[in-house]
Symmetry: C2
């Protein structure tokens, strides 16, 4: 649950969404991501730290490089959070329909 809120907060930033979408296609290193973006490499590194804390990516050492990939855990946390609203809003509609 707390994971879902942090994941939503992380994906609230447009740059982080682009980075996340880039990692979805295939795992990449930090510098590789930075070259395709209009921001510096440390900025990408900071974004990746936020995504990692939200359970949206995992990192793995690969020599001097560091490969990042998408972590399904964070995606699933958002999914579970969204599922609440389907049920609740349907109940709200039902309750309203019965009230008249």
């Amino acid at each position: 649950m707390a994971y879902a809120t942090r994941a939503l907060g992380a994906l609230g930033d447009p740059t982080r969404r682009i980075i996340f979408e880039g990692l979805a296609k295939r795992p990449r290193a930090v510098g590789e991501l930075a070259r395709g973006l209009p921001i510096s490499r440390p900025a990408v590194s900071q974004h990746l730290a936020v995504l990692k804390a939200a359970g949206l990516v995992t990192d793995r050492a690969d020599g001097a490089r560091r490969l990042y990939r998408v972590d399904i855990a964070g995606v699933d946390a958002i999914r579970a959070w969204l599922d609440q609203f389907w049920d609740r809003t349907l109940d709200a509609f039902k309750a309203e329909a019965e009230s008249h």
Copy 2:
């Protein structure tokens, strides 16, 4: 698609998430929401405008009041956006498994 990015941007703010969760239980008026929050009524009004632009809520006039309720469209847009990553990351795993 553009709806999904705006919806994610909207739910990136913790206060908007609380407002959104409040509306999920039952439709509410602006002032009613503001009384349960530590911020002013205009602030709530501005948050609702953002949620509305993201397709996450709809509003309806009720006398002098204005009732807001959850709109499934925005929720569904995020869902569709998330679905991409399930497929892509699974493909990435599969491709990596086959490569050795």
